[in-house]
């Protein structure tokens, strides 16, 4: 089975799987040690580097959800031998045109998958694949209470990567007692999972992973009645119509979602993290602080391979303040 790699949450794994291909959401392990480019987002660089170094990827799907990744698609097409598909995800979302563009783009992706050897799914096949994926996602989501924040995020990343996730293999963890905080921002690298440990060591716990790699970007639950009638439209609505993200214009739904979750989870502080040169997240830091009305710690992820050790003491100070 061919592997289709992607990193953007607006790429529906179900759509790829329904074409009898293996969807694999890549979370780069670490930033490359060399080759930093002035102005280029370290995450985009990490993703390009990760794909270029692999030989198990048959095609890669990038999305237009940020300019850096849009342009990275060209870099990747040039530097690697894999087929690169740029999925046009509209920034606007309040119009029928925006939904039409997204739906048409998924159909175009489907045509590519067929060209690569996949099979165009029947509506029943699509509905069945969607239901299976949703069931698997729900299992992981249901385990959220008995996994640590790190375990949960890793399980989610492993599932999206395409690995079989054995939830029972995780060591049981005690009910978190630290200060509940939200981790908000762009995508994580695997080497960033240590952040969860740092936060716990400092007396907190991530009660809401609202990074692009976390639960924020999971699709909405499929409407069961619509799923039977029109699975494709259901898919479009669950992804394009539901995922709140920073690039959307306006990005008001992201704020609504955060506000709701922060109340639900009794969040007392926000750790906000963005990559150097990521304008979309960077510009929102002051507004987040005003809008959420909570203490906000801003961390900037640069070109370093792992985490910046100085952030550990900043997290510690932040949590001491919250206690």
């Amino acid at each position: 089975m061919k592997t289709i790699a992607y990193c953007d949450p607006f790429v529906p794994a179900e759509w790829i799987a329904a074409h009898e291909m293996r969807p694999s959401r890549i979370m780069p392990s670490t930033a490359p040690a060399s080759g930093a480019v002035i102005g280029m987002c370290p995450y985009a660089r990490s993703f390009v580097s990760e794909i270029a170094s692999r030989d198990d990827v048959d095609a890669v799907v990038l999305a237009t959800t940020c300019d850096q990744m849009r342009r990275a698609s060209e870099t990747l097409a040039k530097s690697s031998g894999v087929e690169v598909f740029l999925l046009n995800v509209p920034a606007t979302w309040q119009t029928t045109t925006a939904y039409r563009i997204y739906g048409d783009e998924l159909r175009r992706l489907g045509r590519l998958l067929v060209r690569l050897g996949g099979t165009a799914p029947s509506l029943d096949d699509l509905a069945r694949t969607m239901a299976e994926h949703e069931a698997a996602r729900s299992t992981i989501l249901a385990a959220q209470g008995r996994l640590s924040a790190r375990q949960f995020s890793q399980a989610l990343a492993d599932f999206q990567y395409g690995d079989k996730v054995d939830l029972d293999s995780f060591e049981p963890c005690a009910r978190p007692r630290g200060v509940p905080v939200a981790l908000v921002g762009g995508p994580l690298l695997r080497s960033h999972f240590a952040l969860f440990d740092w936060i716990e060591c400092a007396g907190g716990h991530v009660a809401l992973n609202a990074t692009t790699s976390g639960e924020r970007t999971l699709p909405a639950l499929f409407d069961r009645r619509e799923l039977g009638d029109d699975p494709f439209a259901t898919l479009v609505n669950a992804y394009f119509g539901s995922i709140p993200d920073i690039f959307r214009r306006p990005n008001s739904e992201l704020y609504r979602w955060l506000k709701q979750k922060i109340v639900e989870r009794d969040i007392r502080g926000v750790i906000f993290r963005y990559y150097t040169w990521c304008d979309l997240w960077h510009a929102e830091a002051p507004r987040l602080k005003e809008w959420l009305g909570l203490p906000l710690l801003v961390l900037v992820a640069g070109d370093e391979e792992g985490l910046d050790r100085r952030d550990a003491s900043r997290i510690q100070s932040f949590l001491e303040m919250l206690k």
Binding site: G39, C66, L86, A283
Partner: protein
């Protein structure tokens, strides 16, 4: 015997203005000596060198009085449209209605340069968390919140989608502060698949017909808002007339560019050409006067070419310049280093291409908007640049990075590599901040090296 044209300082312009007036120069309502703009805070003028023609004087005065025109338009009861991240589409629509005036708020990115950082626009942007890691267009955010640089528009539009993250982030920040914005989608232009209907766009790019249809639908939303604002329908006849007038501007610029870039002696300096090209974006808030200003410039250029006159040495190297500079002084610097402008892509070459007049107007505008070199792959843009390099006979290429701009991280390499492989001309990438004085020595060295290399190639 006509005095040969030359570049002069602002001090020299005082005497030159008096002499022109004494010689019978009739100026338009916004005319006058350039020095008065320094009193308004435009201190950068003191460090620039200007073309000494009456046509250039008119051009500068036209540019530097835009704010007055906008206020006058409002006082006259016209509605003002701020067309953000829109290089020549919504303004064409807005000017098709008699009681609308459109301007380009992004143009505020030149405020820090022109006012030599004396205006607090960057400070205001900093205070809102939009610091120097962003493109200088963040000055627009500061200009909105501090006021005083343009009247607040009655309608703000902004194209989003395949735009730079800097602008998208700045516009969203503005929206988050409570400024309503009509967002319209410009999808990332892609090359059509083999089994798709394809459409040739102005400028030579191709796009899937479906993408043109999306943009058309989005522009229809903009049209509805303009209708509401104006209180009258922007019908096909009015829009077609608006397109014809916009094309008049574009044809004048096309002729001007072709003459200036290819003349044996450079008939008009780089700085004045940059400003002339900018007029295409939104007509500097007065469409008819834009035409008059460009006609004057064209007349001056033609006269100079006929007389065999130029403003630079005959051996000046023709340089193709990519991206607008945040500091206007850089254009003077190129000429001081022995270069001249021999082709440009200031990010808005689609605003210089004629809008098709043989199509339904909205279809024509959609195609033009999608022809924006910045919404497609960098290799498309590079391909167009290579074609223009060959067309104008440019001998060197400068890619001028815009500090912090998301597109500049990687596109420079794409453009330079293609130019080197397809045209074999020497290239350089530089970065020009809003006030480049502290970097002038470095920039000069790099530009001189480029010019020397290009001259060396002439002797091969």
């Amino acid at each position: 015997m006509t005095e040969p044209p030359r570049q002069i300082t602002l001090d020299e312009w005082d005497a030159r203005h008096e002499a022109l007036r004494a010689g019978g120069l009739q100026e338009p309502f916004y005319g006058g000596p350039l020095r008065r703009h320094v009193a308004d805070g435009d201190f950068r003028l003191l460090r620039l060198r200007f073309d000494d023609s009456a046509a250039a004087l008119r051009l500068w005065n036209f540019l530097l009085t835009e704010e007055d025109r906008l206020h006058a338009a409002r006082a006259a009861g016209k509605k003002i449209v701020g067309a953000m991240k829109d290089l020549g589409t919504v303004p064409v629509m807005a000017y098709s209605l008699p009681n609308l005036v459109a301007f380009y708020p992004d143009g505020a990115w030149w405020i820090p340069c022109v006012m030599e950082l004396s205006a607090p626009v960057f400070r205001a942007a900093d205070s809102l968390g939009v610091d120097e890691s962003f493109c200088p267009v963040r000055a627009m955010l500061g200009a909105f919140v501090t006021g005083g640089h343009f009247p607040f528009p009655d309608l703000l539009t902004c194209s989003v989608g395949a735009t730079c993250d800097d602008f998208s982030a700045v516009a969203q920040r503005l929206n988050g502060l409570g400024y309503p914005i009509l967002w319209w989608e410009i999808p990332a232009r892609r090359r059509p698949d083999a089994d798709e209907d394809a459409i040739e766009l102005p400028g030579g790019f191709r796009a899937p017909a479906a993408q043109v249809a999306y943009v058309k639908a989005e522009l229809e939303r903009v049209r509805e808002s303009l209708d509401t604002l104006a209180g009258e329908r922007l019908d096909e006849t009015a829009l077609a007339a608006g397109i014809r007038t916009a094309n008049c501007v574009r044809r004048l610029l096309a002729e001007l560019r072709s003459l200036v870039f290819t003349a044996a002696l450079c008939p008009l300096p780089a700085l004045e050409m940059l400003i002339a090209e900018m007029l295409a974006i939104h007509f500097c808030s007065d469409r008819e006067e834009t035409i008059a200003v460009l006609r004057d410039l064209l007349h001056e250029v033609k006269g100079r070419i006929e007389r065999g006159q130029g403003v630079l040495n005959g051996d000046a190297v023709r340089v193709f310049w990519v991206n607008p500079v945040a500091d206007l002084r850089a254009m003077n610097l190129l000429e001081e280093c022995g270069g001249r402008i021999g082709g440009t892509d200031y990010l808005f070459c689609h605003a210089l291409d004629e809008i098709p007049e043989n199509l339904p107007p909205m279809e024509a505008l959609a195609r033009t908007a999608l022809a924006d070199p910045m919404v497609g792959p960098a290799s498309d843009r590079a391909g167009r640049i290579c074609r223009e390099i060959r067309r104008f006979g440019a001998e060197a290429l400068v890619v001028s990075r815009i500090p912090g701009a998301s597109h500049c991280a990687t596109e420079g390499d794409v453009i330079r590599e293609m130019a080197q492989s397809q045209t074999e001309i020497p290239t350089v990438e530089i970065e020009v901040p809003p006030v480049c004085d502290s970097l002038q020595a470095t920039l000069r060295t790099r530009l001189e090296a480029l010019i020397e290399t290009a001259r060396e190639r002439r002797n091969r």
